[in-house]
């Protein structure tokens, strides 16, 4: 055992930190660039606006990150957003239910739907992508069945949930930031956080070690459902309307984009919450800045898309830890040479032969 230690946790940390920083650097560069390009960008108001835009995204990205780390995925969040908003809206407008109760019921409905997803995927082990893609479509129909006419004109107190400020901070931000804090504590401070990673890396090993491989994903699905429904409630509060047909449409791809941008591996087992936060920030800052500069939406699409492709490259570099180190990882990628085989990763991934890269 006296041979040189292969890539250790330390190095992998360094590298993933560096890749994290690549995104961080991206965010900082954008902040600087937009500030230079427009004096309107770096104003307290606009920054507050950016945080507000990111709040619901963050609220759902946090539990979704944990799901993805476990090797699961929930594509139905977009429609759950719609269902959550519509349920709360209809309760208040049609049945004159007290706003607080309406919110609670909406979140409970989200949790129930999440539990349904969790039962099918986490417990019965049907394919996550197929089941939740189906739920995405089905629940969009459900949202419209519940409220064929857009409920609007909510009680005053309710609106402040989406548009109010507390101590100068937008109310939804408390939920978004809160979700990330709770998720971070869960993931890094409790045993179940380690379990979540273990399930993502090697479900069988986790199972044999006595990890609750069915219950944990189920809970994560339920929480994701609740968070998505709450997100819908916040959006509805902000809009003062809950249009079942459009509320949350496409949200599932946006939130997945943020999480993947943040370096969380789609296959599970790899990634951090910090990365996901950066992914969210990156997306909302980019959108805000380009809107501010009045860039045509076509180019906004192109920028968003290319960001994802770059993220794929960064994630790949992070995976190949054994690399010379630091940013050279990226240089190597470009130079298409020299890349050492990765240290073995998850048991499930056989040691990748470097066939992927070297052409010689």
């Amino acid at each position: 055992m006296n041979r040189p230690a292969p890539a250790t946790r330390g190095r992998s940390k360094l590298l993933s930190a560096l890749v994290g920083s690549a995104l961080l650097i991206g965010v900082v560069v954008m902040l600087i660039g937009f500030s230079v390009a427009s004096p309107l960008f770096l104003t307290p108001n606009n920054l507050r606006q950016i945080l507000l835009e990111g709040s619901v995204l963050a609220l759902v990205a946090a539990p979704l990150t944990i799901l993805v780390l476990m090797g699961m995925i929930d594509l139905s969040v977009g429609s759950m957003l719609g269902v959550g908003g519509v349920v709360a809206g209809e309760l208040m407008v049609r049945f004159h239910v007290n706003p607080l109760l309406a919110v609670l019921v909406a979140v409970a409905v989200g949790v129930l739907i999440g539990l349904a997803n969790g039962t099918l995927v986490g417990f019965l082990r049907w394919s996550p992508i197929v089941v939740t893609l189906g739920m995405l479509t089905a629940l969009r129909g459900v949202a419209q069945v519940i409220a064929p006419q857009t409920p609007n004109g909510f009680p005053a107190g309710f609106g402040s949930l989406g548009a109010g400020y507390v101590l100068g901070i937008p109310a939804p931000l408390f939920f978004g930031a809160g979700a990330f804090v709770v998720a971070a504590v869960f993931l890094y401070r409790t045993p179940w956080g380690r379990h979540a990673y273990a399930i993502g890396v090697n479900r069988e090993a986790a199972f044999l070690s006595g990890v609750a491989v069915r219950r944990l994903p189920m809970i994560a699905f339920a929480v994701t459902g609740g968070a998505a429904a709450l997100g819908g409630v916040l959006d509805a509060a902000r809009l003062d309307a809950a249009p079942g047909g459009t509320l949350g449409v496409g949200f599932e791809l946006t939130v997945l984009t943020a999480v993947l941008l943040g370096g969380v591996a789609f296959e599970g087992g790899r990634g951090t919450l910090f990365g996901a936060v950066l992914g969210v920030l990156f997306l909302v800052i980019l959108q805000n800045g380009l809107t501010l500069l009045n860039v045509q939406n076509y180019y906004q699409d192109i920028a968003n898309g290319l960001a994802l492709v770059v993220a794929a490259a960064l994630n790949f570099a992070a995976e190949r830890q054994g690399t010379a180190g630091g940013l050279t990882a990226l240089l190597d990628l470009v130079r298409d040479r020299q890349v050492r085989p990765a240290a073995p990763q998850a048991e499930n991934t056989p040691i990748p032969a470097e066939d992927g890269l070297v052409t010689k």
């Binding site: 606009n46 902000r238 003062d240 309307a241 249009p243 459009t246 805000n288 809107t291 501010l292 009045n294």
Partner: protein, 307 residues
């Protein structure tokens, strides 16, 4: 009274009292209103209505309407996402003896049309908005335009708007032109533009949904619902927008074609054609009207919804 299986050709035109109404924007507010009035009139005249599920998706629209052609529905009213895309379908329908009516635009291959041209609607909004800017704002304003140039209606309305507004209100500065398709996007984009440019005071929306979102954004930015120097205007005339305009606040105008009239025309035009009423017009042209808090039409338009 149903038609025989695979019949085709003029000699054996499909019979029955069914009208298919294809409206691609299944998720926007005006759709529900339109359906309500169409159903109302269809019931009066003893017709049955059919609808498609396009979701704003061109492929789905094409396939939905084509399916009706294949299934030989007696009459079809279609609102083409892409007008040229509908020509060939209309041609086939007519060859089979089906009645094909276009909605919102005039097609070469159609028996009739229900028209309220987008260009006109945009012009009316441009006129109303420029009047406000010139009279109430001393000709000066900062303007956000919420358009939707991935849709033909969006392009047309914008074209109409831009053919009037800049010339009529030369002192108004267009700060930002953005794409918005939903209420949430209307809110989000307006909010962002407002936090960067707090002095933006005119928003011109291509439809009511995005303008309602913009309205919400102004309220959330602490602007009084009746602030005298703000103008939000849009196009469609949906119930919620009319109600908001009626509050006599910053949401000052929605350019409306009377939804009730359109809803009825959706049934009347094809039904008259089916029943071969020679005298009836083949084209129902419904003029857009700028509805403001002071418009005499407002009460009528609103009452359509409360019956």
């Amino acid at each position: 009274s149903s038609n025989s299986g695979g019949a085709s050709g003029n000699s054996d035109a499909p019979k029955g009292k069914i009208i298919g109404f294809d409206f691609p924007f299944t998720t926007i507010a005006v759709y529900g209103n339109l359906k309500k009035f169409a159903e109302e009139r269809a019931k009066e005249r003893g017709y049955e209505m059919r609808y498609t599920n396009d979701n704003g998706d061109l492929a789905k629209q094409t396939s939905g309407v084509s399916a009706w052609v294949a299934q030989q529905l007696p009459a079809i009213v279609a609102f083409p996402l892409e007008p040229t895309a509908m020509e060939s379908i209309g041609k086939r329908a007519r060859e089979q003896g089906q009645i094909f009516v276009s909605y919102s635009v005039q097609l070469k291959n159609s028996d009739g049309a229900v028209l309220f041209p987008g260009v006109d609607s945009g012009k009316v909004l441009g006129k109303n908005a420029s009047d406000f800017v010139n009279q109430k704002l001393d000709g000066k304003a900062k303007v956000l335009i919420l358009g939707n140039d991935s849709l033909d209606v969006g392009k047309q309305r914008n074209q109409g708007l831009m053919s009037v507004f800049p010339q009529a209100a030369p002192g108004a500065k267009i700060v930002s032109t953005q794409n918005a398709t939903t209420r949430a996007e209307g809110l989000s984009i307006t909010s962002q533009v407002l936090s960067a440019n707090p002095d933006v005071n005119v928003v011109l929306g291509y439809d009511d949904d995005v303008a309602l979102g913009a309205y919400q954004a102004f309220l959330q930015h602490g602007i009084a619902p009746d602030a005298p120097n703000v103008y939000i205007g849009s196009q469609d005339g949906t119930q919620e927008s009319l109600q908001t305009v009626a509050k006599n606040g910053i949401y000052r105008c929605t350019v409306a074609v009377r939804i009730r009239d359109i809803g009825h025309a959706i049934v009347d035009v094809p039904a008259d054609l089916l029943e071969k009423k020679a005298t009836a017009p083949k084209v129902a042209s419904i003029a857009p009207v700028a509805i403001t808090a002071g418009s005499p039409e407002l009460a009528d338009y609103l009452s359509d919804y409360t019956r």
